[in-house]
Each structure stands twice: as C-alpha cells, then as structure tokens.
Amino acid sequence: MTVPAVEAVDVWRTYELDGVSVSALRGVSLTIDQGEYVAVIGPSGSGKSTLMHLLGGLDRPSGGRLVIGGRDVTTLTAPELATLRNETIGFVFQAFHLLARTSAVDNVALPLVYRGVGARQRRERAAAMLGRVGLGHRLHHRPNQLSGGEQQRVAIARALVTVPAVLLADEPTGNLDSATGEAVLELLEQLNAESGVALVMVTHDQEVAARARRRIAVRDGLIRSDSAHDRPPSDGSGVPATLDPAPSAEPRSVSGSGPGHPPGGSGGAAGATGRLPRPGERPRAEQRLPRSGGDAG
C-alpha cells in the first residue's frame, strides 16, 4: 500500500456568520490514494466546494485531521501551506483563472515561479507541458486569443507542471460546451491514467460523475455515499462512508503509477520527454513529502 495522497479523518469546517456557527462540513472522512480518479458530486450548498478547498490546502479544517501529501495541514503555517499547495496540488477551476495579460506559456510556468525555478527552465517545462495538452502551437497566445477549451487546457497544463500528487478540478467543464467539455474530460482522464496523478473532480453533472471510477456524494456537509465502500454505487441513501476511513482493498492505482520507479532525473528532462513524470520521479531532490514510489516501494 502506498501513502495516501490525501487523508481526511472526521473533518469539520465551521464558519462564523454574524455570530452564528454554520457547519459546511460535519465530520467527513475519506482517503484518496495515488492515481485515483474520483468524482465528488452534490447539489450546491452541500459542502462539496468546501471539501475541495480543504483537500487542496486552500483552507484549514475547524476540526478533525487532514493530511495532504503526508503533512498534517492543521500544523502548518500559511507559508508552509502555500508551499504544500505548490508541491502537491494542481487546481483546475471552472472559470479557468488564467492571468489575462500573460502568455499561455507564462501562465503555465506561474507555479514554478513560486518554486524558485529559473526563467529559462520554467519556460522549457511549461512549453513541454503545453505540448502535452495539445497546445504546443499556442505557447505565446494570450488567454483572450484562445477558445474556452484551449484556455482550460492551459489551466490543466498549469496544474500539472509542478508534477502534483493530486489534481483538483472544480467543475472543469462547467463553462464549456458539451463537445469541448468532453475533450477536456478525455484529456484529464488520459493524464490521470498516464501520469498517476490522482484526479479529484467536483461536479454536479451526473453524466460527468459517472465516468469516474469512484464517486463520492456529498450532502448537508456529510458524505452520503462513497462507491469505494458502498458497492455497487448507491444513489446517496447508503450508510455514511465517514464511519470507515480505512482505504478499500481494491487496487485503485492505475497502471504505470505504481511504486518502484527509480527516483531522480532532472526537472527539465521530466517535462521535455513529452511524458508526464511520475510521482516517484519528482525532480526536486529536497522533496520532503513521503508520498509514493520511493518510500513505499
């Protein structure tokens, strides 16, 4: 068994609104392993966005334990949490969130800026990543010169350029027409299968959710069903999965993401090969996160 990418145990998130406590999450437990493909579904107000923010290290739980990439989020300072996001998480948003005046390649390179990678190497890795998502011919276009689908591909490249353990996609097809959305989903699934990055997709679209190998239904701040524990998948009326935070015995790691790959290799080479580097090949020698491969293999 590898170290889980994300592990949540009885996680609460409570907001204070005008002196009234509102709990968006009320004790959620779940584990996401390396290379999983998970859909989080639920109506608006169900807490699925809050859950995604927590899984991505954008927010901290009010209670419970949340471990991302082997690090307990509650013990981290804001700068440490930022570094953890940079190293472990890739975000894809419904609204793309690209920097408007910045070329595609520099948008993709942005996370590497905060990692202290030099300009030339940043661009090389960003360009390679853009090639990977099929935009090798659009490196120097600005977002307003790209179609919606292309913009989301740029965002996906940006999310993956740091070789994260988890790719969090929040309604990634919400702003796209169905054909373009289908292509983006296929790209995400392909990258998930090839690179071993865990794909966690938040959606309210049942059709989109149905494609995932694991589906987690959230309602009223609780996990109502988790196909990993509740097979065959129920329609949300099952026992809350929070009672069983242990990972399923089912092997969820897709081929190619398994342990045993030799660590090392330079950062530039990883992107330049045109193949997504696997977690075990993370280029940073000072990598502190005991995640996959090397440790557990």
């Binding site: 991505g56 927010d59 996001r85 942005l110 905060y114």
Partner: protein, 394 residues
C-alpha cells in the same frame, strides 16, 4: 519568488494600466519636482547673496547706531562727520573709512526722471567697498571738501536718464538741485530682487546741504587684517559710545551679515521645501489609494497565485514593489523635471537656482520611502487575503 521576478511582475502590472500609473505618478512627479525646484531656487539665492556680500569688499566692518537684529526698528543716527574723523583716528588710516547718508530722491535730466537712492559719501568709497566705474571718474577729496555738486550715477540710473546720450558732463537735478555727472558705475546686478545699480553717489557734504542735515547714517571701515577685525570693531564702538553715551552702536562683519542672511534664507528654503513636501505626501496618498484599488481589482489573480503556491509574503512583496516602483519612477521623473525647470529658471530669469546633490538624493529617497509607507497597507491586505474568498471574487 525571486526578487527580480517580483520586479518584473510589478513592472508588467504598471504597464498594463499605463494611463492610471502615469496619473498616479503625476502626484509624486509634481511633489518631487517642486521640492527640487524650490530647494534649487533657495540654494541659488543663498549662493548669490553670499557672493554679493563677499563681493562688497574684503574685511569690511559696518558701524551703525542701534543693534543689528532682525525686527529691530532703525535708530535715528547721532553720527556726523566728526565721528568719522574719530573712527579714522582709531583705525589709523582715513583711506579705510567710508560714510554714507542716503535718501530717496527723484533724479531728472531733460524730460526724463527716475526715483533713486542718493548716497552722500566720501571719496574713499571705491577703495573701502569694491566698486568700479565704467566711465568717467569718481569723487575726489576736493569734491567732498568743497561740497561740489558732482554725481556718479549707478548703471540703471544712467540708462534711465540718458538712454541715448553719453551722461558724462550732463546735468542731473537731484531733489531740485543741479549736479554734473562725472562718472558712471560698472553694473552690479540684482540682490534679492533689489537693483543694486539704482543709486547716485554725491559728496557727503553736498548731500548734507541738499537735505539740510549734519548727520551721517553709518560708517564703513576696511579693516587692515582679518584676524583683528573683531577687536577693531570693539575699539570703534567704544570710541563712538564715548562720544554718544546715549546711543548703542553695532559693528558687524560680512561674516555676521552672511550668518543672518543665511539663517533667513535657510528658513525660507525649508518652509518652501516643506510646502512642496506636502504635495509629495498627497501624491503618496494617491499611490496608496490606487494600490488598494489594484488589490481589489486583482483579487482573483491574488487568489490564483496563492492557489498555485504564492506565500503571503510573495504577494505582499509584489504589491509593495509595485507601489515603490510607482513612486520611484515618479521620483526619478520628478527629479528630471525639477532639474530641467531649475536650470531653465536659472538661465532665463533673474532668479538664481542651484542644484544640490543632497536635494536630489533627499527627493528620491523620500519618494521611495513614500512608496514603502503608502504601499504597506495595500500590500498587507493583499498578502492576507483568504485564497478561497479571493478566488470567488467577481
């Protein structure tokens, strides 16, 4: 994030809103340029006055009744020419002693007239003060002894009364009495806006007769050596006080005059610079305001940057650099504008202006500091934004 990278991001952000950046900078530009210009004019005026005071002559000692202090009312002089003789005996050389009795008077020549200052003086004046003639001759001892009605005109007076004629040998009427022009001074220029060529010298005896008086206003002495000038001054004051026990006398040196004038001009320059500094402060408030707008406008960008790994400090530094860049570029532009304007003023107007390095360094330092001071609050606000909230911003 590396600092060089942060500078580039800040620069790009400013360029993206070019008009807004320039307008924001304008406040700083005007402030810095005002400081540079006003300090340059103050410094230039001070330097000019110093030159002129030193150009009066060397080792000068001016003896006048009353105290020389700012705000003291002038005292009616009890001095007459016998006091000048007494001072000459103290000094030991009548050639080093000059006197003056001055009054405003209208000078006429033909149908032209000019209101000017008529100075009754001794023939020693050009050697005590540094004065030179452009034409003719100066007064002689015989002119003074015989109260001869001869006059030496200042350059401005000569031009006013005799614009197209040689004034030598011509008649001028001073306070209704005719004098013959025997010489014209070489021009001296202006001092603190006063035309130093607007004067007429006549023998002190003739002037006293003109105004029906025996008194003189003051005595000037050219001390034989610089080291003993203060001691000489004390001896002269003692002698005059003995002769006029009811009156206090002062003997001042050029150094003392320079000190007093320097203090006055220094305060003046400081006040002007402070007023200009207020406009720099207002410019800083403008920068702060625009940075707050910028943070609000770019909330989503901040959220995104945080999501991909920017630490609070990275964001704070980015916005702080943006503010500093605004004020520094504004400061440099303001410096260039100020220096250019000061040089133009110096070249094209009678107002002197002198650029000093310290004023440039101060102006730039203050403008950069304004960027830091007024950029801190917006930068902190940006750095502390909650990424979840920031990403949701419209």
């Amino acid at each position: 994030m590396r600092l060089a990278e942060a500078w580039r991001v800040a620069w790009d952000a400013l360029r993206a809103n070019r008009l807004r950046s320039v307008l924001t900078m304008l406040g700083v530009i005007i402030g810095v340029a005002s400081v540079v210009i006003l300090v340059a004019i103050g410094t230039g005026t001070k330097q000019q006055v110093e030159q002129q005071v030193e150009g009066l002559g060397s080792n000068l000692l001016l003896v006048v009744p009353g105290r020389i202090e700012v705000g003291n009312a002038p005292v009616v002089s009890p001095l007459d020419l016998s006091d000048a003789d007494a001072v000459s005996r103290v000094v030991g050389d009548p050639g080093r002693v000059a006197v003056t009795v001055a009054s405003g008077a209208t000078a006429r020549a033909g149908n032209r007239s000019d209101f000017t200052t008529v100075q009754g003086v001794l023939e020693t004046t050009p050697s005590v003060f540094t004065r030179s003639l452009s034409r003719g001759r100066y007064l002689t001892g015989a002119d003074v002894d015989t109260s001869r009605r001869v006059a030496v005109l200042g350059d401005s007076v000569a031009r006013a009364l005799f614009p197209d004629r040689d004034p030598l040998g011509q008649q001028v009427t001073l306070a209704g009495v005719r004098f013959r022009v025997i010489g014209v001074f070489a021009p001296l220029g202006q001092s603190l806006g006063v035309d130093r060529d607007d004067e007429v010298h006549v023998p002190v005896t003739a002037a006293q007769r003109l105004w029906g008086t025996q008194r003189i206003d003051g005595i000037a002495v050219k001390a034989p050596d610089r080291e003993r000038i203060d001691e000489l001054g004390e001896r002269i004051v003692a002698e005059l006080s003995r002769r006029h026990p009811d009156t206090e006398f002062s003997a001042v040196t050029q150094r003392q005059i320079l000190g007093v004038l320097g203090d006055i001009l220094g305060v003046l320059t400081g006040v002007l610079a402070a007023i200009a500094g207020i406009s720099l402060l207002v410019g800083g408030v403008g920068v702060s305001n625009i940075m707050l707008v910028s943070v609000r406008e770019r909330t989503r960008e901040i959220g995104l940057r945080k999501a991909v790994g920017a630490r609070p400090r990275d964001i704070g530094v980015q916005f702080l650099l943006e503010a500093v860049l605004l004020t520094s570029v504004g400061g440099l532009t303001g410096m260039a504008l100020g220096v250019g304007t000061a040089l133009l003023v110096d070249a094209l107007s009678p107002i002197p202006a002198a650029i000093t390095w310290w004023s440039l360094a101060l102006a730039f330092g203050v403008s950069a500091a304004v960027g830091i001071v007024f950029g801190v609050v917006p930068a902190q606000r940006a750095g502390r934004l909650d990424p979840v909230v920031a990403l949701r911003a419209e």
